[in-house]
Amino acid sequence: MAGSGLTGTTVPRGHRILPHTADAGIAADGPTLEALFEEAAAAIAELSADVEAPEPSEAGEAPGRHVRRSVELSAPDLVGLAFAWLNECIGLVDVVGAIVGCRVFAVDVRSGEARLRASVDLAPFDGVRIRRRADVKSATYHGLAVEPVPGGWRLTAYLDL
């Protein structure tokens, strides 16, 4: 889904970690909802793990010991979908490994329901090149926002560490 905004203007995609009294916040930007949710996953990846690993192959296949998980989620609305997506990423890190790649194929928002299809590449932690950085308990609804901005979308979320 493309963003609204000025003709010819798109939001550059990116993400950053934000301070919070006890925990952490994340902010992500993207020209489309799909890009936005990918950047949100990248923020979770950065917060939760340190990875020194080769990049995935040009063919797009998960190399080596990487695990690829397919994800399909639904929620009552876009904010609920962001809650579900962020927590799916957090859960996958806790039980599989570091997020090293992610593709959000589609984010569909209709009246009363929002859906997402994605795949996530994860590298099991080995304590050497792939290490946990922070235990993230959950993403919260507190201050969770997915908002149109000129040229795209912005997501803000707070995480309980």
Partner: protein
Amino acid sequence: MGKRQARVRRPASAATTATLAPPETSAAAPVRLERLDEVRWRIPRDPTLMMRVDGLVFADDRLMAALRDDPALTQVANVATLPGIVGASLAMPDVHWGYGFPVGGVAATRVEDGVVSPGGIGFDINCGVRLLRTDLTAEELRPHLARLADALFAAVPSGVGARLGRRLRPAELDAVMTEGAAWAVRHGRGTPDDLERTEEGGRLAGAEPALVSARARERGADQLGTLGSGNHFLEVQVVDRIDHPEAAAVFGLAVGMVTIMIHCGSRGLGHQVCTDQLAVMDRAVHRYGIRLPDRQLACAPLESDEGRAYLRAMAAAANFAWANRQMIADAVRGAFARTLGRPAEALGIRQVYDLSHNIAKLEEHEVDGRRIRVCVHRKGATRAFPAGHPAVPEPYRGVGQPVLIPGDMGRQSFVCVGAPGSMVASFGSSAHGAGRNLSRHAAIRALRGVDIAAELAARGIEVRAERRDLLAEEASLAYKDVEAVVETAERAGLARSVARLRPLAVVKG
């Protein structure tokens, strides 16, 4: 699939770029505060903010000075909007900004027509504290302290991603969630005396493991007996002051005595249970026509399928946490025995108490002259029942329930006892700790270049941590003064100080 996966980019430098102001909730303007006395402040009920009752904040001048601009006060007002809330939306002396509920928030809702809100318990269901006492003195222990710290660090998995060597089988995990601490005792990891001196006997009735998701089970299956990270810790302490000699004697505490304090919760299993249930409640809110100022306050009637399911899943997670602390306590006993070359019984290691500070309890309280059943949400708050209450363990019933209040790493912690006025003042509740006043990032920035472990070692405190660079997050600078919290709790009639404990060794999660 065909398309190249988006690569996760790693920044070349530190990621922190901006400080985001706390998001606004229902009150666009600061909440109104009326001072009632030296330690109580009222937030008057404001129908324009959908408040159904007043807010009531327990804070002295020092604590309120830090709170004035803290969004926690707005959160206290938001909690006052919950359907069925009675009395007031309460803030304990260590209150600070949380998710939906503030940390240090207490709210009681009528069982017959009120709601339960998972955010009023928190993601770390049954995060809590256990205290053990010993016959050892600090002087006796001092020559062995470094080796003991090593032994504890080896015996109790701690830090980010702490894991056991094996995963519990599904049937085992079901048993843990059903039996709680008793599961561990049944497997030789403790005694019935431990259970007697644990809130709820270490097992909340009504747990239904079938309501715990596969993801929650997956997260928790190899985490039983682990400390976790963040502000969780295992601390060897010395009692350096007795404030209430009668209660101290009953609890088995004396000046110079070595004690051990354990602070941890339900690990990934509990976090996931809360996350799962919040999503259920988020849908339920609309079905029941509940309007909320903050989505994180998602809730459902206690007398609904969703409400009942939450309490049963919460109980399962709470029992996992009690089993967790029981396993860790047993590992602590073993480490002491191996280090000192004598059995734990010969060292006089005995449990003082174990209590929860993130939980919902169905209790009977007097409201407007009538005794009614309520659901008491305690998030970053502890139960603090007074002398004579039937829920207080029989050995302690003459003085009251122990209240364990850890401070920050490196300073002091307190053992208190529930005060006679707590039932009327706070639904039998009190503070749970020091409360943060600096973010993790701010603490790290303020203490850049400071070797916290070395500073603590210079004061004779042994520190063991997986990530010494993260110790700054939990340094004293980042926390309020726990002595101010305890003094306020005393003056408010919530709990009374029994003993002060100072750290000798810390295993940091």
